[in-house]
Symmetry: C2
Subunit: 190 residues, 2 copies
């Protein structure tokens, strides 16, 4: 079985700066289930690191305790699959810190691709990005929580990925589901 | 914008009979987040009903309370999107009851397609099932929780869908993620 290598492709789940429902810029809470789900999806599609981005020390500690439980504690013996899924999960303070970490690892600055539910002009299509990823350029896929990524973060990205369109006007996928679909479209076997 | 109509396609999330880690047949617990996530994904792809299957009265009541909160309570005003997502979510005691309900609605017995992480002989491929769904035949897509659907349930199905293969040997997607990917592959715009 041929294995694709996507270790140059990294994923960030951003909890700040994001919008809340009334449109203010806030820090959203980490959902521990996101950490498990997204780690498993990332591992399935063979991507590099999964970065959980939050500036809050207490939230960072929560994620580190969760990872520690499944990596070293009772959890590692009870469910080795979770351990394997979490091997490349990191918690980090900001998206700038993610870019710096990826740059150090890959030896060059990654192409930053942000995602979202809205149509924007000049977005990159799934097929185009899929080809670019197959060429091996280091890439960081950025996902927001809450009511979406703050606008400057979108403005400063190299690309905005086109949104997922379903078969209805309904446009409110959970971020866990959106990540699963997007990685399958970009990296899944065709 | 042309809208596809998949109201003949229904989805069931089964909490009994499923396996636990040691391989015993058990009732798994309902995860409330599953109810929200899967409802949102179903709504995005325009499918018919989403059935949460559990024989336990207390768990049925839990799901009904959750749906009631977002349909009629404070939740309906606070977040109408959740209300919209839950409009076609039902809780029901068994898979047989789901089949009976779908049969009554569609006027014919649905084609039952079970899903799972394992390769099985004679499974139906995504492309083939996609075509079949476009032809409009009533279909019930069945997903298991815990460590997977009990074997007789799989044996009695009309089809077993081929598993999702990622780009690694890792084969442990969360059911929420698997459903998102499978609906996108079967019903998403190509």
């Amino acid at each position: 079985m041929e294995e694709a290598h996507y270790s140059n492709i990294h994923l960030a789940l951003v909890h700040f700066p994001v919008y809340n429902k009334p449109g203010e810029v806030v820090v959203s809470s980490v959902t521990t289930l996101d950490v498990h789900d997204i780690s498993r999806v990332c591992r399935t599609f063979g991507v590099g690191n999964f970065y959980v981005v939050t500036p809050l020390k207490t939230q960072q500690e929560l994620v580190e305790r969760l990872i520690g439980h499944w990596m070293k504690g009772h959890g590692a013996r009870y469910n080795p699959t979770r351990k394997e899924a979490l091997l490349k999960t990191r918690v980090i303070k900001s998206l700038d810190a993610v870019v710096a970490d990826v740059t150090e690892q890959c030896g060059e600055k990654p192409c930053v691709v942000v995602t979202g539910a809205k149509q924007v002009p000049n977005s990159i299509e799934f097929g185009t990005l899929r080809k670019q990823l197959q060429e091996g350029r280091p890439t960081l896929l950025v996902f927001g929580t809450g009511w979406g990524l703050e606008k400057n973060l979108i403005r400063n990205a190299d690309h905005v990925l086109e949104p997922i369109e379903g078969n209805s006007g309904f446009n409110h996928l959970p971020v866990r589901g959106a990540i699963a679909i997007i990685l399958d479209r970009l990296l899944g076997r065709s």
